[in-house]
């Protein structure tokens, strides 16, 4: 067996350039797989993470009758005394932040331009709103007692040609079905790099939002961020809320992203297969060439009594060695490229999707699990690719093989 390894190793050394390029094909294939996996990871993780931080939280507590699509402001569809419930939830050690939020719909106009808007009434002091605070690109963030200021997203500011300090008119639905209109000052312009969010959402301090919508002491939801996403189900189960309320998790609130993830995974699976098939065909080709070149040698080995199985092993070991070399190079290439895309990310814009939470820059995220799985998968495929040429070599008739030119 050791001798077979030695022979296989030296056989690969006979045509170093060919061996190198075959291993390179395997390694490039693996590196692409690793990069794809890391990008998908980064994209999915980024999208879900982004959606949780910006929009859904890990958990929300809402009135049982609240319908997200209607943004109802009727008192029976809202949570009464939300601060009280929020402070109770905040007492749990797994909870990072909780804050009440009020959602309303309306539109803002400036001059003869206008745009539809989702209005978020938020508590400016809550750390749950840090992502918005950090996204301020001009002007300043809100304060709790700011009765005349609002924040708008960068896309709206561009569409309506607004800058911080400009006046803007806001029309908003109220609890009793009227429309209230009031002039506000653009206190600040923010960007979360998520077009679908920034293009639709404007912020008011919670108290002001409650006043203008006549919802008073009510909020649409209690937004909860946990220290780790993995606590979600446990905490959601543990929360005891009164009968008029319901607990929703990020999974309930992001069905679209989860659907999209499932779909993307099946497309990625097909791409994996294509890339593996290309790597495999390079190995098959290399080894078949090698079998043809060494036909007479196989005849000699057979003549001195090597069994078919041993000849097959010789070629299988060659493909395994190519696989090991290719996988080692591939892991290095894959880690390097994933690292580059992890540091720099790459910009995908809004991918033409509106109203959909997609981060505009993907930061690749390579996991050890993916690396090991893909490396093992590539190795297995390489060895399997060696099977056909190996069987071919083992089935050569000794006299046919000896008659060959080389």
């Amino acid at each position: 067996m050791i001798q077979l390894f030695k022979m296989a190793f030296r056989d690969l050394g006979r045509n170093r350039r060919r061996t190198f390029f075959s291993a390179l094909a395997v390694s490039v294939g693996l590196a692409i797989l690793m990069l794809m996996a890391s990008v998908v990871n980064g994209e999915m993780g980024g999208s879900i993470q982004g959606a949780i931080i910006l929009e859904t939280g890990d958990i929300q507590v809402r009135a049982a009758s609240y319908d997200e699509n209607k943004s109802s402001l009727k008192w029976q569809d809202l949570v009464e005394n939300p601060e009280l419930i929020a402070s109770q939830i905040a007492g749990l050690p797994q909870v990072k932040a909780t804050t009440p939020r009020l959602f309303a719909s309306g539109f803002i106009s400036s001059g003869n331009q206008s745009a539809g808007a989702r209005i978020y009434g938020i508590d400016p002091a809550s750390p749950a709103n840090d992502p918005y605070r950090l996204g301020i690109i001009s002007g300043s963030f809100l304060t709790a007692d700011d009765g005349g200021g609002m924040l708008i997203g960068k896309p709206i500011a561009e569409k309506l040609h607004l800058s911080a300090g400009d006046n803007v008119s806001l029309s908003v639905n109220t609890a009793n079905g009227d429309v209230a209109e009031q002039t506000f000052v653009v206190r600040g312009i923010y960007s979360t790099n998520t077009y679908g969010f920034d293009n639709a959402t404007i912020f008011l301090p919670l108290a002001k939002a409650q006043a203008i919508t006549q919802t008073q002491n009510h909020a649409s939801t209690i937004f909860v961020l946990l220290n780790d996403i993995s606590y979600t189900d446990g905490i959601a189960k543990a929360l005891k809320v009164s009968s008029g309320l319901k607990v929703l998790t990020w999974k309930d609130l992001n069905p679209l992203i989860l659907d999209w993830e499932t779909q993307a995974n099946s497309y990625i699976g097909i791409l994996y297969l294509i890339i593996l098939a290309i790597s495999a065909s390079v190995i098959i080709n290399t080894l078949i060439m090698s079998v043809y070149e060494r036909t007479r040698e196989i005849g000699i080995l057979s003549a001195i009594g090597m069994r078919g199985g041993q000849i097959m092993s010789l070629f299988l070991i060659e493909s395994a060695l190519l696989g090991v070399g290719g996988v080692l190079m591939g892991v290095v290439l894959g880690v390097l490229s994933a690292y580059l895309f992890n540091i720099h990310g790459f910009y995908i814009g809004n991918m033409g999707l509106t109203g959909f939470m997609v981060v505009d820059t993907i930061f690749a995220k390579l996991t050890l699990n993916d690396t090991i799985n893909l490396a093992v998968l590539t190795f297995i495929v390489t060895v399997l690719a060696g099977l056909y040429p190996s069987i071919m070599a083992s089935r050569l008739q000794p006299i046919e093989a000896l008659r060959a030119e080389k």
Binding site: Q3, D11, R14, I300, L301, A303, G305, M306, G308, L402
Partner: protein, 229 residues
């Protein structure tokens, strides 16, 4: 005692719809320790006969017995085992494995036969000594002359102590001096170890070494002189 016994062997090759009768009913018996030449013009069937004896090929009809065993009844792997244990080959081209050193080439059949490292080392050094190439042990075939390669091939053929060594035109690619050396080594090994040699040739300088000459023409034995006749 006979090492080889061939009973009415017929070998027909089919290429497309054309049939070629390479052997037309050959009967031959070769005794232990013989140094026998198969001669005849090309196409006379001597290589085919050698391949049947060497279990490299099977007769279309008839039977081949090696060391008392009917090898026509063996499957592929059993024939490989037969070759490994009982038969050594020397080919017209110097059939060494190019990636292995001279030493490793000679060692190969011993490895396949599962000999211990010490047995292998002793046997390889003994054989390299017998063909006078101990100093070339670490050279690869491409660093050896044709004559040296053929002597390594002889050492390899002898390594597993086979009952029979088959040589197909062993001197065809060698100059006169190297050819003479190879024949002398083969003759000496035959005398010293008693191993049976059967070689196919049409070189008159080689034929003169033979103790017995079997002449083939058109797939049949036309002359069979010497021992066992």
């Amino acid at each position: 005692m006979e090492v080889v016994k061939i009973d009415n062997a017929v070998r027909i090759y089919k290429v497309g719809s054309v049939e070629t009768q390479a052997l037309r009913g050959v009967n031959l018996s070769i005794g232990n320790g013989e140094f026998t030449a198969l001669v005849g013009p090309s196409g006379s069937g001597k290589t085919t006969l050698l391949q049947l004896i060497g279990c490299l090929d099977q007769p279309t009809s008839g039977s081949v017995w090696i060391d008392g065993k009917d090898v026509t009844r063996l499957n592929r792997n059993q024939r490989a085992d037969m070759r490994r244990g009982h038969i050594g080959f020397i080919f017209q081209f110097f059939a060494l494995i190019p990636t292995l050193t001279a030493y490793e080439n000679v060692e190969m059949p011993l490895l396949l036969n599962g000999h211990s490292p010490k047995e292998r080392r002793d046997r390889v050094i003994e054989l390299l000594g017998a063909v006078d190439l101990v100093d070339r042990a670490k050279n690869r075939p491409d660093q050896l002359s044709g004559g040296q390669q053929q002597r390594i091939a002889i050492a390899r053929a002898l390594a597993p102590k086979p009952a029979l060594i088959l040589a197909d035109e062993p001197t065809a690619n060698l100059d006169t001096e190297n050819g003479r050396q190879v024949m002398q080594i083969m003759e000496k090994l035959n005398k010293d170890t008693g191993v049976t040699f059967v070689f196919a040739t049409h070189d008159p300088r080689v034929i003169q070494y033979a103790h017995r000459v079997v002449t083939l023409r058109d797939g049949q034995i036309v002359e069979n002189n010497g021992i066992g006749k």
